[in-house]
C-alpha cells in the first residue's frame, strides 16, 4: 500500500515538475521586443530603485530589456573576477573606480570597453572621470554622488554640543577633550560601527590631506616606494590617536557590534553625540525619524592629526562595459540614456541618499548646513586611498588589523608595518617597477 502511494507520489511529482517546468520555460522565454536583453551585474546597493525605474523607461523606449543582477557584497568581487577571467561577464559590470582597482581588480585594458570620447564625458566631473580612467583612456561611468555620499565628515548633534558648552574642535586634543566631557555627561561621544568591517578604517586615510600638508609629496614617495607607512612618524601618530579614541571609551562599549545600517537610529536617539558619516546623513535621519530635524546636526572634518582639510573622494561605484559583450552598442545606449540630464535629475530626486551627481547642469539638493560646510572647507586634495596605490584594495584587511589593535593583540606600529607588507605583496604581484 505504502509502495503504491509512494510510487504515485513520485510519478505525480515528476509529472508536476514537467508541467511546471515547461510552462515556466515558456514563460521565461518571452523575449523583449527588440530581442536584446542587457545584463547588468552589481554589488548590493549599487543599483538604486530609481535606476531600475529608469531601466523600465529605457525598455519602453528602445525595446531593450535590462536585467539587473544584484549579488551579495562578500561574494561580488570573487564572482566578478572569476567571470572576467573565464570570459563570462555580463554586458555591464559594476566596480569601484581608482587606478589600483582598475588595473589589478578588473584589468580594464582587456576587459572593459574604451569609452573615451563619449558625449557624457564632457559633462562629468573631471576628478570622477580621472578615477575611472587608466593610461589616458576612460573606462567607467561613475554615476554616484561623490560628494554627499563620499565626503565622510564628523556629523555632530548641535543640541548636545550646545547643552554641554562644547565648541567645534579644531585639533585632535580639543576633540579628545570634547569626548571626555560628553562621556562624563552619560552620552556616548561617537557612534562607530565596527561590525561591518570597513567603517573604522575611514578615520585614517581621510586625514590624508594633513599628512600631505605636513610632508608635501608624501603620496608620491609612497607610490615610488621611497617612503613607508611604518617609517612615517606622522601617520603612525594618526593611527595611535585612533587607537586612543577606542581605548578611552569614546566609541562606547558596543562599538565592535554596532552596525552602519543603524546609524540613523543611533543618532536620532540622542544617545550618541557624533559619528563619521557622509554629508547626506542628517537628511537621511530626518527621513526615517521625521521629528528629528536635519538642521539639528552640523559637520566638521575628521579631526585625526589635527586635520582641518576636507579631502575630495571622487572614487566610487561605476559601470563598465564588458569588452567581450555581444551588445556593446546597446550597452552604450543604456549608459547614454542614464546620463541624459532629465534622467540624471530623476535619479537624484528619487534617491534619498544622493544629494548631487557629478555632472554639469544637475540641480543639487544641498541644505543650508551642507552648503555652509562645503563653503567653509573647500575640498582640494584627494583622500589618501585614491592617491596612494595599493591602499584601497587592502581596506578590509586594514579594518581587521585595527580591530586587533583595539582589542590589544597588535600595536599601531604593527598595523603600519602590516600595511606596508600588503602593499609590497600587491606591488610585486603587479610587477610594479618601484618594488624590485
Amino acid at each position: 500500500m505504502l509502495k503504491r502511494t509512494v510510487r504515485s507520489a513520485l510519478l505525480g511529482t515528476a509529472l508536476g515538475v514537467v508541467v511546471v517546468g515547461t510552462t515556466s520555460l515558456i514563460a521565461t522565454a518571452q523575449s523583449p521586443a527588440s530581442g536584446v536583453t542587457l545584463t547588468v551585474m552589481a554589488s548590493q546597493e549599487w543599483i538604486k530603485p530609481a535606476e531600475q525605474d529608469l531601466g523600465k523607461k529605457f525598455e519602453e523606449q528602445t525595446g531593450i530589456h535590462v536585467d539587473y543582477q544584484i549579488l551579495p557584497a562578500d561574494q561580488y568581487f570573487n564572482v566578478l573576477k572569476t567571470k572576467l577571467n573565464a570570459g563570462e561577464a555580463t554586458d555591464i559590470f559594476g566596480g569601484q573606480t581608482g587606478k589600483s582597482d582598475l588595473k589589478l581588480q578588473y584589468d580594464v585594458a582587456n576587459n572593459a570597453v574604451d569609452l573615451t570620447g563619449e558625449e557624457w564625458t564632457t559633462r562629468i566631473d573631471p576628478a570622477a572621470l580621472d578615477q575611472s580612467s587608466l593610461d589616458g583612456k576612460v573606462y567607467g561611468a561613475e554615476i554616484w554622488d561623490i560628494i554627499g555620499s563620499n565626503y565622510f565628515v564628523t556629523v555632530y548633534n548641535k543640541d548636545i554640543f550646545q547643552q554641554l558648552g562644547i565648541s567645534v574642535p579644531k585639533t585632535f586634543d580639543e576633540f579628545a577633550a570634547a569626548c571626555t566631557t560628553i562621556k562624563a555627561a552619560g552620552i556616548t561621544p561617537i557612534y562607530e560601527p565596527i561590525s561591518d568591517g570597513w567603517h573604522q578604517v575611514l578615520w585614517f586615510p581621510f586625514a590624508g590631506p594633513s599628512f600631505e600638508q605636513a610632508e608635501p609629496g608624501l603620496a608620491d614617495k609612497l607610490n615610488a616606494n621611497t617612503a613607508t607607512f611604518a617609517g612615517d612618524a606622522n601617520m603612525t601618530t594618526a593611527m595611535t590617536q585612533i587607537n586612543q579614541l577606542y581605548q578611552s571609551g569614546c566609541f562606547g562599549d558596543n562599538a565592535l557590534s554596532d552596525a552602519y545600517a543603524d546609524t540613523d537610529k543611533a543618532m536620532a536617539s540622542g544617545k550618541f553625540a557624533m559619528t563619521v558619516s557622509p554629508l547626506s546623513r542628517p537628511v537621511s535621519i530626518e527621513h526615517d525619524f521625521p521629528n528629528v530635524k536635519a538642521s539639528s546636526f552640523g559637520f566638521f572634518p575628521i579631526p585625526i592629526f589635527d586635520n582641518q582639510l576636507q579631502p575630495v573622494h571622487p572614487a566610487g561605484p561605476a559601470k563598465f562595459i564588458y569588452s567581450k559583450s555581444p551588445h556593446v552598442d546597446q550597452a552604450k545606449q543604456y549608459l547614454d540614456f542614464l546620463m541624459q540630464p532629465d534622467n540624471l535629475q530623476y535619479l537624484l530626486d528619487n534617491t534619498p541618499d544622493f544629494s548631487t551627481l557629478p555632472f554639469t547642469g544637475v540641480k543639487s539638493k544641498w541644505d543650508d548646513a551642507q552648503t555652509a560646510f562645503l563653503d567653509t572647507y573647500p575640498a582640494k586634495t584627494l583622500v589618501y586611498q585614491d592617491v596612494v596605490n595599493y591602499l584601497n584594495p587592502q581596506w578590509i584587511d586594514l579594518g581587521k588589523d585595527m580591530v586587533s589593535m583595539f582589542t590589544g593583540s597588535m600595536t599601531p606600529a604593527d598595523v603600519m608595518a602590516s600595511i606596508d607588507q600588503r602593499r609590497t605583496d600587491m606591488a610585486k604581484a603587479a610587477n610594479d617597477p618601484a618594488w624590485p
Binding site: 509512494v6 515538475v17 515556466s24 514563460a27 544584484i70 572569476t82 537610529k265
Partner: protein, 274 residues
C-alpha cells in the same frame, strides 16, 4: 525502561519544551519582524508588530521576482533530486551487492567526494567546456553531481541491511538486473529514498553560490538570491528582508514537515546497523 510518569515525566516534558523553545525562538523572530515597518524592524526585536505591514510581502514578491524564483527553486530542487537519487540508488545497489575489488575502489572514489573542496575557477572551465554554463539544464546536472557522494553513501549503507534472498529469487526467475532493481529493490528503499529525497531537495533549495556563478540571467535565479535586493552595506530594510526570508523558508519548512517521518527513519537507518 518504559513510560515515565509523575515527577520524572513532568521534568522531562519541561526540559523538552524548554529545548524546543530555545530552538524555535530565533525562527519566531524572523516571522514577527516580517510584518514591521523599516524603522521598527531595524532592531529585530521580539515585540509584536504594532501596525502589521502585510504589504511587505507584496513588495518583496514584486521587487524580488519571487514568483519566477519560486518556480526556479522548485524545478532545480526536484529535478536535481530525481536525477541524483535515481543514479545514486542504482550505483549504491550495485556497489553494495557486488563487492568486487573494482567496485570497492569505485565506492571509495565516490565517497571521497564528500570531502572534495569546490574550486569555482576550474569548475567554470568545465562548465564552459561542456557548454552547460548559464543553462538551467546545466545547473541541474551540477546540483545533482554535488549531492551524489553522500547519496551513494547513504543508500549503500541501507542496502546492506536488505536481505539478498529477494534479489536472488528474482534473478533466478530470469529478470535482468534493471528489472530486479525496479520491481524488487526500489520499492524496499522507500524510507531511504524519501529521506535522501527530502534532504537533497533542501540542500539544493538553499544553494546560492552555484547560481551566482553559473546562471547569468536573473530570471533563472532561485529564491535564495532575491534577498540581496533588500539590504546592502549602507542601508537595510530588515522588515523586507525578514519578509523575504519568511517566504524563502516557508516552502522549506513545509517540505520538511510533510516528510519528517521519512527523514527520521531514514537518517538513523543509514547510520545504525540493526
Amino acid at each position: 525502561m518504559v513510560g515515565q510518569s509523575g515527577l520524572r515525566g513532568s521534568i522531562s516534558n519541561m526540559m523538552a519544551s524548554g529545548t524546543a523553545l530555545i530552538v524555535l525562538a530565533p525562527i519566531f523572530l524572523v516571522f514577527v519582524n516580517s510584518l514591521k515597518t523599516r524603522v521598527d524592524a531595524s532592531s529585530m526585536g521580539v515585540g509584536l508588530p504594532t501596525d502589521p505591514q502585510w504589504g511587505n510581502f507584496a513588495t518583496v514578491i514584486d521587487q524580488g521576482n519571487l514568483g519566477g524564483a519560486l518556480v526556479n527553486s522548485i524545478i532545480y530542487s526536484f529535478g536535481a533530486t530525481a536525477l541524483c537519487v535515481t543514479l545514486s540508488a542504482l550505483a549504491g545497489w550495485v556497489l553494495a551487492r557486488n563487492r568486487s575489488r573494482r567496485h570497492r575502489m569505485i565506492y571509495l572514489l565516490l565517497i571521497m567526494g564528500i570531502a572534495m573542496p569546490t574550486n569555482f575557477v576550474t569548475l567554470t572551465k568545465v562548465m564552459q567546456w561542456t557548454h552547460l554554463i548559464n543553462t538551467q539544464a546545466g545547473i541541474i546536472l551540477l546540483y545533482a553531481a554535488t549531492q551524489i557522494p553522500f547519496s551513494v553513501f547513504l543508500i549503500y549503507a541501507f542496502i546492506r541491511r536488505l536481505p539478498r534472498e529477494l534479489d536472488e529469487a528474482a534473478l533466478i526467475d530470469g529478470c535482468t538486473p534493471l528489472r530486479v532493481f525496479r520491481s524488487v529493490i526500489f520499492p524496499q528503499l522507500t524510507p531511504v529514498v524519501a529521506t535522501l529525497g527530502v534532504l537533497t531537495i533542501l540542500n539544493v533549495w538553499n544553494e546560492f553560490l552555484l547560481p551566482l556563478y553559473y546562471l547569468n540571467r536573473s530570471s533563472a535565479w532561485p529564491m535564495t538570491l532575491a534577498v540581496y535586493d533588500f539590504y546592502g552595506q549602507y542601508q537595510a530594510d530588515w522588515g523586507l528582508v525578514s519578509a523575504d526570508v519568511v517566504l524563502t523558508i516557508v516552502p522549506v519548512i513545509l517540505i520538511y514537515i510533510v516528510a519528517q517521518r521519512w527523514i527520521l527513519s531514514g537518517v538513523s537507518a543509514g547510520a545504525v546497523k540493526g
